[in-house]
């Protein structure tokens, strides 16, 4: 029983970190409707930038992390400007293909700049674990989860209350209608990609601290999809619920099934969950259920 509780609790906390990964994806869907296959790679880039700033350049933490966020926002806006804007009148197939290409570019570029070795991120909080009632959680996971909750709240507020947030949702709903109401589509697209970049910087910092910075982190990109498919492609609440579900599936299968089914099953289990969700409820728990079955 105590093992089960431990697995559940750490699953929920890790789930918050998955929600952070998915948030960057959701922001792009909300702002431009593009299914972004490069978010995982952008997160890896963020992890490498933050690790390079903090260790090689020696910038202090309070400056290094915000600086990474700024750098990655510029990267995100640059991706939109130079890769996606030239395609803005093309089909969705072309846009999605462009994000796949971007993923491949970043996957090649990152080890060419920083090499193949494992890097680390100096941790702000010492590597302890919190112990409550016999359940232990690494400090970094705990505080990251708290940060994610605050961030998710802020984005939820932004999308439901602010003028720009509503404009972004309008664009993803219907580009032409939004444009004819005077919404600046280019601005909206650029802002959503910049936000995705900034979120990727934070996700890179958190996941890099947890797992070490290394190009194998790109597997996180594949784990975004179970989160957003379960939660609904453009729902922030969905990203939280989906993230927690993925965290639980991963943690429980790591605890109980890895020995029987082979090492690494816990990474694949969320992907199997993804297939099951697609079979049952393809638009997710919180997605817009207006699906055209044609």
């Amino acid at each position: 029983m105590s093992e089960f509780t431990q697995l559940m609790v750490s699953g929920v906390f890790t789930g918050m970190l998955y929600a952070l990964l998915a948030l960057g994806f959701v922001v792009v869907v909300k702002g431009s409707g593009v299914i972004n296959f490069s978010q995982g790679e952008v997160v890896v880039l963020g992890a490498f930038v933050v690790s390079w700033l903090l260790t090689d350049v020696g910038v202090p933490f309070w400056l290094g992390v915000p600086a990474t966020v700024v750098v990655m926002m510029v990267v995100g806006a640059g991706i939109e400007r130079f890769a996606l804007r030239p395609l803005q009148n093309e089909s969705m197939l072309a846009l999605v293909m462009a994000t796949i290409a971007l993923g491949s570019i970043i996957r090649g570029l990152v080890p060419m700049i920083w090499g193949d070795g494992l890097r680390s991120i100096p941790s702000l909080i010492d590597q302890r674990r919190y112990e409550w009632f016999g359940i232990s959680i690494p400090t970094i996971t705990f505080w990251s989860a708290v940060m994610v909750l605050i961030l998710l709240g802020a984005f939820g507020f932004f999308f439901s209350r602010s003028r720009l947030g509503l404009a972004m949702q309008a664009v993803s709903d219907d580009r032409v209608a939004a444009q004819s109401l005077g919404i600046n589509i280019r601005l909206v697209n650029a802002v959503s990609w910049a936000m995705a970049g900034g979120i990727a910087a934070l996700a890179g910092y958190v996941w890099g601290s947890l797992l070490g910075v290394d190009s194998r982190l790109v597997v996180l990109g594949a784990l975004i999809f179970p989160v957003v498919i379960l939660g609904g492609l453009e729902s922030i609440v969905g990203a939280v619920i989906g993230g927690i579900a993925v965290g639980l599936v991963e943690s429980l299968s790591a605890g109980y099934l890895n020995d029987d089914l082979g090492a690494g099953f816990s990474t694949v289990a969320p992907l199997i969950m993804l297939l099951l969700v697609l079979f049952v409820r393809p638009y997710g728990l919180f997605g817009r259920p207006e699906i055209e079955r044609v």
Partner: protein, 347 residues
């Protein structure tokens, strides 16, 4: 003066030999491929062309899905792996003859892919790309951790050579012939598929799914059919890979290979068979050119940097062609040809 070719009957539209010259061209290409090249080419070029041919089989298959049905697959390397392992294991464990093993492998790859197709093709949108990304990771995990399937160290499966007339597939000529005979069959199949009701239905679903559904063309059915055919051909290219290398191991069929297939059809030209072959040639030759040209200009790269550089260049190639020439190399070729057909009076 000729101003262009205009079809007056539907039969002219779907004719394989649109002009009398086309028949001569096709015969010439076949003669060069199957007679001249095997006699003239050096073993080095036979090896390179064989690799191009294997890639061209996979790319032609993927083009059925992306070019004609308008869906993206990120799992074609995984389906190639299913094909390669099925045929390899059937031959090595069950002593099946190759003419049983190869069709079985294609069906296995197609049926396996349907799991992912059924999950994602029922709804509109590019969900197939997500499901096939999952397929890619699931297959990679199965290959690396279920050693009772793949057998032994790093999942290596040995392929027994096949005899083709006087050649067997241990010689470069035999491999070349096996691959290009297969490619010719695949090209003929896909060309005819596109002239049939099914092929036109796929294009209809790609262009206007609602109108297609209104014309009693079931989008799900034709998207699934395109995906099944495409994955079965990917399985076939996996089999060819196995016969060419003599063995398969788990590290071959990665996500990078799936992206490489996408790069081939985008560089070559979406929805065009000559485009698939041109793209396969371009993407397969790229590492060879890099290896020959970079040292010539004084840049020496280590093997690992070269892999990363290639990964990046494949992405750059996709992006450049998407933005600058969406119809690919074949579209470029057609433009140039049309320009010179009426030269100097082109308009």
């Amino acid at each position: 003066m000729e101003t262009g070719r205009f079809h007056e009957k539907y039969a002219e539209e779907i004719a394989v030999y649109g002009t009398p010259y086309r028949r001569i061209w096709i015969l010439a290409v076949l003669a060069v491929t199957f007679v001249v090249v095997p006699l003239v080419a050096s073993p080095y070029w036979l090896v390179v062309l064989t690799l191009v041919g294997i890639a061209a089989v996979g790319a032609t298959g993927l083009n059925v899905l992306v070019g004609y049905a308008g869906q993206i697959s990120l799992g074609h390397a995984a389906f190639a792996a299913v094909g390669a392992y099925t045929s390899g294991l059937l031959v090595s464990r069950a002593d099946a003859p190759f003419w049983v093993a190869i069709p079985t492998a294609m069906v296995a790859a197609g049926v396996f892919s349907l799991i992912f197709g059924l999950a994602s093709l029922r709804v509109k949108g590019l969900y197939l790309a997500i499901a096939t990304l999952a397929a890619q990771y699931i297959v990679q995990w199965i290959l690396s951790s279920w050693t009772w399937i793949t057998g032994g160290f790093q999942g290596i499966v040995i392929f027994e050579p096949i005899e083709i007339g006087p050649f067997d597939t241990t010689t470069p000529t035999g491999k070349y012939l096996l691959v290009f005979i297969t490619l010719a069959v695949v090209v003929m199949f896909v060309e005819n598929l596109m002239r049939s009701r099914s092929g036109r239905a796929m294009i209809a679903v790609r262009d206007q799914d609602i109108a297609a559904a209104g014309s009693a063309v079931s989008p799900l059915r034709y998207k699934l059919l395109a995906f099944f055919i495409s994955s079965a051909i990917a399985g076939l290219s996996g089999v060819l890979y196995g016969y060419n290398a003599g063995l398969v191991s788990t590290e071959v069929f990665t996500l990078a290979l799936s992206v490489q297939y996408l790069a081939m059809i985008l560089v070559g030209g979406l929805g065009s068979i000559p485009g698939s072959i041109l793209g396969a040639a371009f993407i397969t030759m790229l590492p060879i050119w890099l290896r020959d040209l970079l040292p010539a200009v004084g840049i020496e790269l280590s093997a690992s940097v070269e892999v990363h550089l290639l990964t990046m260049l494949f992405g750059v190639a996709i992006l450049l062609f998407l933005v600058l020439e969406p119809r690919g190399l074949y579209g470029l070729f057609r433009n140039i040809k049309d320009y010179f057909r009426m030269w100097p009076f082109s308009y």
